[in-house]
Amino acid sequence: MMKTVYTHPKSLKKAVFHYCPGCGHSIAHRLICEVIDEMGLRDKVIGIPPPGCSVFAYNYFDVDMAECAHGRGAAVATGIKRAFPGSVVFTYQGDGDLAAIGTAETIHAANRGENVTTIFINNAVYGMTGGQMAPTTLHGMKTTTSPYGRDRLLEGHPIRMSEILAMLDGVAYIERVAVNSPANIRKAKKAIAKAFQVQLDGRGFAMVEILSPCPTNWRMTPVKAWEWVDEEMTEIFPLGVFKDITEKKGAD
């Protein structure tokens, strides 16, 4: 009798993902659901999906979810956690949501040390609206609003939110991971689990930035897109831990 090594997580609804072939959202959703299952969090979790490709996240996560306005996830999470401290709150945000329109809310929730978990999906482009430039778009990268390639003089630079937020005292844990290879996916799951554990321990703000392939808007095959994360994205967005107060012994 063979034993089951891998099967569909319980907290993930059995629905067909609307995401494109090879999209990182599908992997990220699944990892979060695995963590929720393994840590027994489903009954207490309230998730906040963003506008964007993952606006339909509530069709996949079998947990209580509240949609919110673009960029406002960190503020909504603050309201939920302050009103209901017993909940386990996570926001799921894209690069426009967290690093453009929601930058103020994100920085201030982190600065206040809100006990919430943020999953930041960085795919260097605005997916749902058709592939426009994101704050995280790389130099020279062609998008529909940087058709000649992102120009550093006119359009600035890819913004590194993990590094920026790691400077804030209210932040307990920040790690940047990727979901473009089996090894990276395993590490991403560990980081997500840690980000939830930080919330359970009441240590402060936790974020996992996930470099995520977007084959459609990068105009690549899924396999090439997954490789491009290693070849190009990690040059600008290095993987690793940027802050982790749980490693320190004694007072924070």
Binding site: R42, D43, M65, A66, E67
Partner: protein
């Protein structure tokens, strides 16, 4: 019950706490800072309660959204420019049928404007204000006592109808001091609204959302919201009349303008002019039917507001040509005196040959 001397802003705060407000999220802006500060002092230390000075009015309204999603009685406050920032959040609250109380202590506008009292956010408040077809209940208090009473009523209405409720005050009401009594005690423990999202322990997961890729679904949501609005109009429309019995001219005013108008009307009554006041208290739902009834007896109306003519349009709509409406307005934060308004009333009275 003891009477206390309080400024309007603080009275709102005390009333909110007694109405069971669990969470306050706000950002400083003149002329309502006494309210934010009152909540920082008095709400933050209450068991189970939360005060957050947010980084912006946008963040504050979204914190209100979050707190309301999980069933807390929650509020925010601001003044005109900050209320503009909140419109997106209010649209989301209305769409998701989430109770909340939003206080607007109006100041002169448009733009950064002035810090003095005005009534130029009437359109914004009563027409939805943000994108989409929706309404919020709008209450127009005209005294510190009424600020307290209507704040409590606002929380109850919000919970009863699952709708955001706006308290439309102004800078004068907020900062003036009058004696006030509070008709209830604060609850010992914050309440949790039934059916709110509290994690899906023991039942299927739930979603609070507004987005749909199916227009027919959204159409039905709109119709359903408006059926509720019709019910609110039937049940909650409130107004006050003053010296109306033999009136030949009726002044229509709300809020601080109604206070000024009352003073003006007392003046002209002393001169023998038969003038009365119709004071809407719910600005939405607007008391259009009572006005239409009134128009069977009285044909001359003077709408007095501290703006360029906003409630004027609701009065004209209500009367639909059954009465004549004149208008007197002072925008920009100018606060007229009762004697000034009395002169305007008398001039109109004699011009129209009223006896």
């Amino acid at each position: 019950m003891t009477k206390v001397l309080m400024d309007g802003n603080s009275a709102i705060g005390e009333a909110a706490i007694r109405a069971g407000c669990q969470c306050y999220f706000g950002y400083p802006i003149t002329p309502q800072n006494e309210l934010t500060e009152y909540m920082a002092t008095h709400l933050s230390r209450r068991k189970g309660c939360s005060f957050v000075q947010a980084e912006s009015e946008i963040a504050a309204i979204n914190m209100v959204y979050g707190a309301s999603v999980v069933g807390a009685r929650t509020m925010t406050s601001s003044s005109s420019p900050g209320i503009s920032l909140k419109q997106e959040g209010i649209s989301y609250l209305a769409a998701c049928e989430l109770p909340a109380v939003i206080v607007n202590m109006q100041r002169g506008g448009p733009g950064l404007g002035s810090i003095s009292a005005a009534q130029s956010d009437y359109f914004q408040a009563t027409r939805g204000g943000g994108h989409g077809d929706y309404r919020t209940i709008v209450l127009g208090p005209s005294s510190v006592q009424e600020l307290a009473d209507l704040t409590m009523r606002a929380f109850d209405l919000a919970e009863k109808y699952k709708i955001p409720v706006i308290i439309l005050g102004d800078g004068v009401l907020g900062q003036m001091k009058e004696p006030v009594e509070f008709s209830r005690e604060a609850p010992a423990v914050p309440s949790v609204r039934e059916g709110a999202l509290r994690g899906c322990g023991g039942h299927p997961s739930r979603i609070v959302k507004t987005f749909t890729s199916n227009p027919a679904e959204l159409e039905e949501i709109n119709w359903s919201l408006f059926r509720r609005y019709a019910l609110i109009k039937k049940e909650e429309t409130t107004y006050e009349t003053f010296m109306l019995d033999d009136a030949r001219l009726v002044v229509v005013a709300y809020g601080i303008a109604a206070r000024i108008a009352k003073g003006a009307i007392k003046n002209v009554r002393a001169e023998g002019l038969k003038v009365g006041l119709m004071r809407p208290i719910t600005l939405w739902p607007f008391p259009d039917e009572p006005l239409r009834e009134m128009a069977k007896q009285v044909k001359q109306y003077l709408v007095f507001e501290m703006n360029m003519g906003q409630m004027l349009e609701d009065v004209q709509l209500a009367l639909s040509g059954q009465g004549e409406t004149a208008f007197y307005g002072r925008p920009g934060g100018v606060v007229p005196t009762p004697s000034e308004v009395a002169r305007v009333i008398s001039r109109l009275y004699y011009q129209k040959g009223l006896k």
